[in-house]
């Protein structure tokens, strides 16, 4: 079992003929993801890698392929349009990989997607993977293994690091979800935690947060109030100076708010196991899976 994607996922790739889109489409197909359509305006009627039909619009792609999920690899200035197009075409789960999407664009996009009843993951995220079932995005399949742990994170490579260590320690994953590093995104920690709580195969959850905003604090409250499964958490950015954007658009301490210290405190208050170092996840999770 898994959350958000699984064996039933049928995927349309928006921007399938672009540099990133084509590279990762091949990777996804290789991993076993059911890539059923691609979209590149003007290339409608062609095929990608000889097997995946390409369409001019997402509406055409959905009408023809019945795709239920979309992944977006288009340049930042076109990402908002691509997300809205996917939601408008009836896609229920949209994964936006693109980094650098103007945050004001996301205020409109978020409202649109919500009105359509769809779920957006990202933007500026690595996507997600349900080991052995489906991979949507850019998380390397080789570092994952099927198993009982749900992983949710605001970052990309830090997630790889921790998933890799879990896998090496023999701890597999139900789904690894990167929610992205932007201040306004479609899916937050609570959404993923609630899904893991509801997923019978998930027995424990790893949550990797960082400085900026209060998403982790609200997630901690959610864990305290609604979760029966154990959660282990980590916060990156203890050494970050205030007022500076630490790579991720959302990783910024505003005034005195959004520090690592307050987030770690919230984790502790909620009974979440706190990993001080990335490597600590292994022992903390092991203890909770016993």
């Amino acid at each position: 079992m898994s959350i958000f994607i699984g064996k039933d996922t049928t995927l349309v790739v928006q921007g399938i003929t672009g540099r990133d889109g084509s590279f990762h489409s091949k990777q996804m197909i290789e991993y076993g993801t059911r890539v059923v359509a691609g979209v590149t305006p003007g290339k409608g009627g062609q095929t990608f890698e000889g097997t995946v039909p390409i369409f001019n619009t997402v509406a055409d792609a959905v009408a023809s392929s019945g795709a239920n999920t979309s992944v977006i690899y288009v340049p930042p200035m076109y990402a908002a349009d691509a997300i809205i197009e996917a939601a408008d075409a009836g896609i229920q789960f949209i994964v936006a990989i693109t980094e650098g999407v103007p945050v004001l664009d996301m205020t409109r996009v978020y409202a649109f997607v919500k009105d359509k009843g769809a779920r957006l993951l990202g933007p500026n995220c690595p996507g997600l993977i349900s080991p052995g079932e489906s991979k949507v995005g850019i998380i390397p399949g080789s570092i994952c293994a099927p198993g009982p742990v749900g992983v949710v994170s605001r970052s990309g490579t830090l997630t790889y690091e921790i998933v890799y260590q879990l896998t090496r320690a023999g701890i597999g994953q139900t789904t690894c979800v990167g929610i992205g590093g932007d201040p306004i995104n479609g899916t937050n920690f609570i959404d993923a935690l609630a899904a893991f709580e509801a997923d019978p195969a998930t027995r424990a959850v790893c949550m990797m947060g960082e400085i900026g905003g209060t998403d982790e604090q609200e997630a901690a409250q959610f864990v305290k109030d609604h979760m029966t499964k154990p959660v282990v958490g980590f916060i990156a950015g203890q050494t970050a100076p205030p007022g500076r954007r630490m790579g991720h658009a959302g990783a910024i301490i505003s005034g005195s708010a959004g520090t690592a210290a307050e987030k770690i405190q919230a984790f502790e208050d909620a009974g979440i196991g706190v990993a001080r170092r990335p490597i600590d996840f292994v022992d903390l999770i092991k203890a909770r899976l016993r």
Binding site: T107, G181, R277
Partner: protein, 381 residues
Amino acid sequence: MNIHEYQAKEILRGLGAPIPPGEVATTSAEAEAIASRIGKPVVVKAQVHVGGRGKAGGVKLAKTPAEARERADAILGMQIKGLTVEKVLVTEAADIASEAYVGIILDRASKKPVFMVSPAGGIDIEEVAATTPEKILKLPIDTRYGLQPYQAMRLGFFLYDDLAKARAASKIMQQLYTAFMQSGCSLAEINPLVVTPAGELIAVDGKMVIDDNELDRRPAVAAMRDESAEEPSEVLARNASLTFIKLDGNVGCVVNGAGLAMATMDLVKYYGGDPANFLDIGGSSNPEKVVSALQIITADPNVKAILFNIFGGITRTDDVANGIVTATKKNPLKVPIVIRLTGTNEEIAMKILTENGFSASSDMDEAVKKAVALATGGKAA
């Protein structure tokens, strides 16, 4: 991206907001000339991208043009929180009957721009929020509709009981919102919004922070960047497409991915070291980026050891290894380097490094411990 007060005020003035006359100067002679043109007492204000310039002595009243020259002389070249003042704004001094705060921030929780206004202006709004939160009205704006007239009036009435002042304020709200949206801001504020003894509203200070992601499609806004007001190493890094933030520690860090970069810095600290910087070489790094990264880091005299931490996903670790070899051949390192590489093409990378006399490990924890030990002069733990 931060822009200066004078730039924010020019944007607002262009939208019709009541901004007192003023111009920017880079020399004291210019400051004197501007004060003469204004012909009234002026305030000379340091233009730097940090808060607290008033307390640091960067804002001074001058009654005459000669006094303006003196003040400018004192302020120009001054260091405020590590940044040198290169420009001053010389602007008409305002008579103040009352001060209010008006700001818009892009709010993560509501996923909307949120107006914050308070009749308790002129001071740090965080302080007001902490001590007298009832003096702040927060109003989220749905960008699909924009700031509606009734919302602007509601904000105006929160500041002033009087209809004329509430109307004038509501107009300024519209102007600030327009500035916020047109420039792609993550923050825009007027603090203080002043009522003069004559009952007129004027915006005495203005601040705007631009979402970096907006700059590609807003060349006019991007052109407002003042590289002279930034840390030179950060300017260099940006021009090399690196995300770099200078810190005061002794372990130079080169990492791929922002989250892993922060986690690496934290681990340096955990093991008793101090990171010299945040540096993310990005997803699809090429050898040239690595070369630039090493140049920037080695230019910092505080750096006593360099730590690479690369988890290859999209990033090919062999690209990084080649970058290290190229860079160090050109400019031999004067400080020790610790390399951690794993993931895509790890074996090729290790081979390249070994052949060129570098050792590398695949374990993050171990690498960080070693770098800290080297930087602090101790032994690897």
